[in-house]
């Protein structure tokens, strides 16, 4: 079933201990849609500038990503520049140039308005709300956000949060949003703000799902070579939503499978710069790593003999 994402399509400059890349393909909607495209067709709502290379758009088209909702405006494309230390766990933002993103006002093509699955990437919560206004009867709406909106646009963020089914954020953001250090308490506090489910991403430690009384702990794949963590969270979300778009019913079993699928996709994304690893990926790689996740986590029942 149909899947729509709104977010950034960007040019990233990234420095890791393994090298430097300038103006490579990036952005939340890019990572999300490429990842999700392995499971279902994706509709993108985003904006780029005049300088955005046609080859990057060709790549997205080759992944069967629908770019009807991607507009090209006068000016330069959104740019992000960041660096990672040897720990590779947190990006240090060196420069952000909003450029055409500054006046971005998402307008959905007619064909997008009946999208059944919607992912509101990390943009201004008011814009996230404006996208929702244009969609009729979605089956599942998920969103991401970040510290910048949590502190700067709290009221608007809470309005949008009350309208979504699923929030997917990282642990630091969950703590900040809830004002609570303990992860279980933070999750419960956020669930009271509206979303029925929350996924807390914990980087190399995997992710936790809270859905009513259900808690699911999804590991990350222990990788020997993490090359560039940029986009891991959006790649996770793309695998998650792509998998859910295929599910006959959105229940706890489908959510568990979808989280592992998201974690599988993220484990690939970080193995190379930009989307380079996702470019060469095929579905056999995905099913093989999914099986590796099963092997990574399985254990037998406990059968305690008498003492």
């Amino acid at each position: 079933m149909s899947l729509l994402v709104v977010g950034s399509v960007a040019l990233d400059s990234v420095e890791t201990p393994f090298g430097v890349q300038e103006d490579v393909l990036g952005g939340s909607a890019t990572y999300f849609s490429t990842s999700a495209s392995f499971f279902t067709p994706v509709q993108v709502v985003a904006v780029v500038g005049e300088d955005f290379p046609e080859t990057y758009l060709d790549f997205l088209k080759s992944r069967n990503v629908d770019l009807q909702g991607l507009t090209r405006e006068a000016g330069k494309t959104f740019r992000w520049k960041g660096s990672y230390s040897h720990q590779l766990n947190e990006a240090k933002t060196l420069d952000t140039q909003l450029n055409v993103f500054q006046h971005f006002s998402p307008e959905l093509p007619e064909a997008y308005r009946s999208a059944k699955h919607v992912f509101l990437g990390n943009i201004h919560p008011e814009l996230q709300g404006r996208v929702l206004d244009q969609i009729q009867g979605p089956r599942l709406v998920a969103m991401d956000t970040m510290n910048f909106w949590i502190t700067g646009e709290r009221a608007q963020l809470e309005k949008t949060l009350a309208r979504v089914d699923l929030l997917s954020i990282n642990d630091g953001e969950a703590r900040q949003l809830a004002g609570e250090h303990n992860m279980v308490k933070a999750a419960r506090a956020i669930l009271k703000m509206g979303p029925k489910r929350i996924i807390i991403k914990r980087g190399e430690y995997g992710a936790l799902l809270f859905d009513g009384d259900h808690v699911f702990s999804c590991p990350a794949y222990p990788l020997e070579d993490v090359f560039d963590p940029t986009g891991a969270g959006d790649t996770f979300a793309g695998g998650l939503m792509g998998s859910l778009a295929l599910a006959p019913e959105i229940n706890i079993e489908a959510l568990r499978r979808a989280m592992v699928t998201g974690s599988v996709m993220a484990s690939f994304a970080v193995e190379r710069f930009s989307l380079d690893r996702l470019r060469e990926l095929d579905r056999t790689d995905i099913t093989r790593r999914y099986a590796a996740f099963q092997e990574l986590t399985r254990f037998d029942s406990l059968d305690l003999p008498e003492l």
Copy 2:
């Protein structure tokens, strides 16, 4: 089958955001043996001073812990004083008084020398070696260590490490020991030092096992109330080794089950100060939480339809 532990029996003074406790029962051998006693009888090698309360020994005896190898020396008991901030993830040591522990030289009673399972708690690596010298034909020898020995007694530590089957340490220590930040690379480097298997404890994120080509990711239980993390690692090790002592064969399946059992036990230990939660625990609590770990981690196979 028999299980022996050498380590500290101590009086702890602990400050957490939830309160202060002075001179309560603590020490690696205490947490370990209490935890393991739910699975198998345990033999303790340790030393206490004249001031050590008889009631604490009575508690250990009530748990069927063999104290033949626990000696009482002139002087005061080993004391540790620490505090935890609101994050509850890392103890800040405020004071350590070695006292009788300073001249501790483990002498094993005859009955202990045929122990089949041995856990060398976090003491001077030379003393760990001296315990091993006294044991004939163990089935499994595991050890713990800490940053203090990694930096200060490296040569001796490497000697002991070469003699054990299993090393159980936390992630920071693994990185320090291997001189490698990436966890997979750190594990592989340490396996080259001798132990056949390594378990890397990651606190609230669970633990990883590396055993040849097998990797097992064991979660920690997401707790709403973490009260006092003191002893969590030793309680984990006690559940791990207690479970392995029951296993017909020590293979990857037994190790997986044992790690989950260790994680179950640690999840109880942190719910109260000192050993208070373990004191009132019964085996039904354990099997119930083990089942909760299964529920926490299970997910179906992936069945990808054609695109």
